[in-house]
Amino acid sequence: VITESLSGRTIAITGATGFLGTVIVERLLRSGGGCRVVCIVRPSRRFSAWERVRREIVRNDCFDRLRAELGDEFDTYIDEHLSAIAGDVSQEGLGLDEDGIKELAKCDTVIHSAAAVSFDSPLDVAVEINLLGPTRVADAIHQSGANAHLIAVSTAYVAGNRRGDAFEELITETWYSPDVDWRAEVTSGRRVLADAQNSSRQAEQLRKFWKTARRELGPAGTPLIAERSEKLREDWVKQRLVEQGKARAQSLGWPDVYAYTKALGERALLETRGDTAVSFVRPSIIESALEEPTPGWIRGFRMAEPIIIGVGKGLLKGFPGLPEGVLDVIPVDKVVAAICTIAAAGPNEQPGVYQIASGSRQPLKYRTLVDLTTEWYREHPLYDADGQPIIVERWDYPRRGKVQRQLNEAIRALTVAEHALQVLPLRGKPGDWAAKLEESRISAERARGYVDIYSAYTESEARFRIDRTLALYESLDDEDKKQFNFDPIDIDWRYYLHNIHLPSVVEQGRVRNKPVKKTSIDRAARARQTLLSPARQMAVFDFENTLMRSNVINHYAWLTSRNLSNYERVALAAKRLPRFPSLLAIERKDRGDFLRAFYRWYKGAPAEQTRQAGQDLFNEFVLGRIFPDGIQRVRDHKAAGHHTLLITGELDIVVEPLRELFDEIVCARMSEEDGVLTGELIEVPPVGEARALFVKNYADQHGFDLSECVAYADSSSDLPILDAVGHAVAVNPETRLAAIARRRGWFVEKWTSEGNAPLPASIVDRNEVATSA
């Protein structure tokens, strides 16, 4: 009966690309008796609304079942029954154009499932989408002249932080729901955004962002620091709005901004709907599908998934919550079945509220969930990087405040230690400490985030009644009951968790669930394969600490003291020593100024002699400190037919012997007068952001595509260049760069002067060896 009733209808849906929306579209197309579905989708920068529908909805494995059922006719069927109109719930009138309005006018039913579902959305976003969204959809329906039934998907948690039964009542009629003027909330939400934007632009704040960006990036050059500082400002604004939203929601008795804006959205819709027929569907926490379209189907990481994975990885050893409390979870296909039934049944005279939840009918106790999860993990453990199974320990149920306090303290300590490490010029193994600290801090922060956001749900004591929903179910005939089963009574939680949900989540979570040890060799080999692919065009190398372990100061010291006695050496060092601090200060600020200042020291040196000494310096000092892996890499790039470029602040005399390896060397050159070095540079090698610019110009001149170039560098002052190319490699990165490289997923090489990081044999073919000469 439902199928027949839906047949011939045109049903519009918002939020079709979301988790719930995708399943609704699929179900309507598969079981809707050939009804037409119109997706109201916001076009992205690259894709039109229809392209998005094709890419994000139709190609999803959610449609595998329908594809299999229809076979060759699938594409034609989709073209005939599915269409898209460009629209955006955060704009007045949904931003529909005339064609869109015409399309909407033809619709019999509109399902509004678009929402900012994150529990920690910024206030402005939540207000625009969750609060104003339903009203805008109703307005659009009204304006198009359609006589459509609007089914607004809300959430059961609009009931707020309350104990006891929560009935299927209109929000305006619920005695415990605060009577808030939603218009005032909208105005104040927008003002909060403007205020946050304003205060983020105060001089004091801006200086803070700049300082933080500098500390993170070091001498990376103005453009990158500016970019980072602006990003920090935006993040700060967002964070402010998240906090404001949360505070406002809690001050009114809702657990978070999601429930708060959803509740006010219902209120606003009831007030502005005019004569549009409205039904509210309030699901609780929607999780993976029980049966339809396929058992375990889930899209994206939702509420419980990060926690479930966190438990499996041993990151979470306890989570605040009431062991005897009920965690209200509902499989997505139950919600979809209810929505289809409501759509088929059509509107009531008065707006109806349908809650779809398991808590009052087939409750899942928090303790049961924990027990079943740990039990399952014991049989299906996740594995750590060494291929060892991770043992899930006994779970405890601490108080929320205690956990939060502990996590806060841990995070504070870790942050301090991390900053301390960043200041030190560490490389290699000590550099890894910082990586470990960062890792622990991030997982601690993540855990704190889970606790902040989700404990309201694990601690919830509300019981969502589903009497009206059940009554609707009871009114169905047997065939419909079988086809569109939304009675939660038949959920076997043990079966659902063990056979459907947990396997699906682990599968989706891309975690190690097999005892295969991922060797770092594999990763390194893959990385090198990428870097040495024939598609690459140019390889840019930094010199100091990238290809060898030394620097300009060492070289100066070697050159000036090589013919001196020990006594004279000490005297020379003593003479130079007082100037080092100022020199280092200059370097920290600007590498170019440092080089200019430093090379003054060469003033008066006999030119010819120094030039000859250059080869000696190379033979006796530089070559012994060179990284064989690095040199090998340069040669590999050359053998692969890439252009090789060395950019260094070294003097030409020092790097002259490397000409054989590089197609081009960009270095410092000093002028001479009467056979004596002047200490002034004719050519100042590009440093910092100038290097990136130089490489860009260089690539343009030679017709190289920067995205096909590889850059190797060791310090955060080289960030611009690493940022500019398509393939960045951080070599023996200092702490700061290591952190950045980890975040951006850059390759990291650890080269030593012994060269004990052997190139895996698999990449370089012996034929290549034979032809590399």
Partner: protein
């Protein structure tokens, strides 16, 4: 009193044996019933050196006395080999220096003006200035070095090479050596005609000399060159002054020596490598001239060889199933900081298997050495490359193809480093590796104790934790229940051969 070589039978109460472990030391208890083979001690040095050298030069073997061959207007070249530079510096002047000084004095008396010194290094690295000074002594080094009269042979410089086969480019030899009216070749050890020619040859000629059918080249080179060979042999008491007990055979140790050895072992095993190296740098050895011969190449080489055979002949005709050797700090082609794994293996194999080997053919050789993939970037970049790119792909005893040899031989980067820096020639690792492979064909297997397993595997060896395990594996490999096992003790006197 000079002690000849000795085979010592190990009993249950025998003391542990001091093993070199690269730059470190270890005490190893040998199983009862096995044997320890001690080499001969250093021979008595020549007391009247000047007379001995003068005697050799005046009454050369199968040749005219040197004095009669020197003329004022002649072109004289003194070539000397690069042997022994890997050893610790000596308190005593180098044998080559003593001979060269005397030759130069005679040349000065004869009024010869055109004199040049050539480091006959073949495909080895250039000597550094301090090494040159160490070999030649301050006087000669200063006088000739400042004038630019000390040259290092360059097997890659077409300007420095000449073809002695009248134009068909087959045999390239150092031009100055060929054009000299007299070439005096001063060697630091019992050498061979093949080595002498190779050390002055062009790259391709040197490579051909490595192959077995090299007599033709040697003969035509020796016929072309006006060659007068001065061969020296020096024996050393390696640590006679700083660590005398290392000189003594363990059964002769006194309590004091035993304590000192224990302390030495624990210190060298615990300190970082850089500290151990700094320690080795401070050591000086006592190396003295024990023999000098001059004359035609064949006669001199034979005479020197027989001088060595007198002492190195083991007193019994011992043959064992399993032989173990250790690898000390200073070995040929190693650098002060690194002995790369190929060089170490080459040293161990050539010490155990050259001459009349104690190990029976098809026996098992055991190496005491912490094998690791560490390379000196200044001198052995080509080894690093060869180890990673070639050895990583070869399986077991697979031969290195001629193509790969050509690739490394013709590599411009390695050639540049060989010519201008202090690096070995690009083809050096391949020459050494081929020799290693020849040696390894003579044995069933080579086991290494304390080495990195990956590195061992790549070299075709097997890494084991200790001697017991190694002997167990050897028993399996040879399918024998009882086997003869001997340890070849690192010679206290370095009868240097290469």
């Amino acid at each position: 009193v000079h002690k000849p070589s000795l085979v010592y039978d190990v009993t249950a109460t025998s003391p542990s044996v001091l093993l070199h472990n690269g730059g470190r030391f270890r005490l190893q208890r040998m199983p009862a019933g096995s044997q320890v083979i001690y080499g001969p001690e250093a021979r008595e040095p020549i007391v009247h050196i000047t007379q001995a050298i003068a005697g050799a030069l005046d009454k050369p073997l199968d040749a005219e006395p040197l004095a009669s061959r020197l003329r004022a207007d002649m072109k004289l070249t003194i070539a000397f080999d690069d042997g022994l530079i890997w050893l610790m510096p000596s308190h005593e002047p180098d044998g080559r220096r003593l001979a060269i000084e005397q030759v130069l004095e005679m040349a000065a008396v004869a009024g010869v003006d055109d004199v040049e010194l050539i480091v006959a290094r073949g495909l080895n690295r250039r000597l550094t200035n301090s090494e040159l000074e160490r070999v030649l002594g301050e006087r000669v080094y200063d006088a000739f070095g400042q004038q630019g009269w000390i040259k290092q042979h360059d097997a890659e410089d077409p300007e420095q090479l000449v073809d002695i086969t009248n134009g068909n480019g087959q045999i390239q030899i150092n031009k100055r050596a060929v054009e000299s009216d007299l070439l005096i070749y001063v060697s630091s050890m019992a050498t061979s005609a093949q080595q002498i020619v190779a050390s002055l040859a062009g790259r391709d000629t040197a490579l051909r000399l490595q192959q077995s059918d090299s007599t033709e080249i040697i003969d035509s080179a020796l016929n072309t060159l006006q060659l007068f060979h001065v061969g020296t042999i020096s024996d050393e008491r390696s640590c006679a002054r700083s660590m005398p007990f290392v000189e003594f055979r363990e059964p002769n140790w006194r309590l004091r020596d035993r304590l000192a050895a224990n302390v030495l072992c624990s210190i060298t095993q615990t300190v970082p490598r850089s500290v151990a190296q700094a320690f080795w740098k401070t050591l000086r050895t006592d190396r003295r001239l024990v023999a000098v011969e001059a004359g035609s190449v064949q006669s001199t080489v034979a005479a020197l060889q027989s001088r060595n055979d007198e002492v190195s002949d083991h007193s019994s005709n011992l043959t064992v199933d399993v032989l173990s050797v250790d690898v000390p700090q200073s070995i040929p082609f190693a650098t002060p900081t690194h002995a790369n794994p190929i060089v170490a293996l080459h040293y161990a194999l050539s010490r155990a298997l050259s001459g009349r080997p104690v190990l029976k053919p098809g026996g098992v050789l055991v190496l005491h050495y912490p094998l690791a993939a560490e390379f000196d970037s200044a001198r052995q970049l080509c080894y690093f490359d060869f180890y990673n790119r070639v050895l990583g792909k070869l399986s077991g005893t697979e031969a290195v193809s001629e193509d790969i040899v050509k690739t490394f031989a013709g590599d411009h980067w390695y050639t540049q480093l060989y010519r201008n820096s202090y690096a070995y020639h690009g083809v050096h690792p391949l020459v050494l590796w081929r020799q290693c492979q020849q040696y390894m064909k003579q044995v069933e297997a080579v086991l290494v104790i304390g080495g990195n397993a990956t590195v061992a595997e790549r070299l075709g060896l097997r890494s084991l934790a200790n001697l017991q395990d190694a002997l167990e594996v050897a028993r399996d490999l040879l399918s024998m229940n009882e086997l003869n096992f001997a340890h070849l003790h690192t010679p206290t006197s370095s009868v240097a051969k290469s």
